[in-house]
Amino acid sequence: MGATIKYDEVEQGQELPPAEYRVQRVNLVMYAGASGDFNPIHWNERFATSVGLPDVIAHGMYTMAQGGRYVTDWAGDPGAVVDYGVRFSSMVVVPDDDTGATITVSGLIEEKLPDKRVIVVLTAKSGDARVLSKARAVVQLA
């Protein structure tokens, strides 16, 4: 149990390579079922546009989950994440086509903390929009 990345091998200011995550309507339907969040703005275009949205939008928690996946894939163990928080700053609009939307996540080692912990700051974008802000994870490294 524990991260595979070693604390001594990361530097403050180090950039982590970006990863792209595809989101299509089917993913939102699956996420609604798995999470229990059946708000129709996440699956019903007719409802979404009736409340002033451009189209169906992804659950904020779906986007947060992609950031979490980015961090756990990097660290090598989900148990290494000791703190993870985000602000939802923009919508991920998911059109009903064969492509859907793409969420691009990248990371930066903002600070090395005592006890082999680091703060990883995440950037998550969909198109030109920053969809998460103040996204940071504290990760226990080896």
Binding site: R22, S35, M61, D73, Y84, K134
Partner: protein, 149 residues
Amino acid sequence: MALNRDFIGRAYSSPTPYEVSRLKIKEFAAAIGDANPIYRDAEAAQAAGHPDVVAPPTFPIVFALTGAGEGLNDPEFGLDWAMVVHGEQRFTYDRPIYAGDQLLCTSTISEIRSVGRNEFVTVRGDVTTLDGEPVCTSFNVIVERGGAK
């Protein structure tokens, strides 16, 4: 209409323990598109040093607001759900969540503040085992658009 500040500090407990199952973790991992075997295969999880399959970091959202619903849905509170968006979310973890855990969550409406025309409500969820061992804490900020006017 502004939200009822009398609700600040009120706490609500989940009515029954939430039982974390391997199947639910697998379903959640599939929904977020994460193919990590540690979320589906007990042997892979044990090989990585865990007692059973592990839940992804955002999994607690599945149950962390269950108790709070009682307060947030109280007509006296004055929340218009049609105007609500998720503003912020944070989890702090004392340990990973595993299949087989039985978890209790106490949700507290910890803060209500007006920013411009919007109301920001912070719900803190303290998640423990049946024996009271802390597991994680959820900080959920919901925004009621136009609620403060």
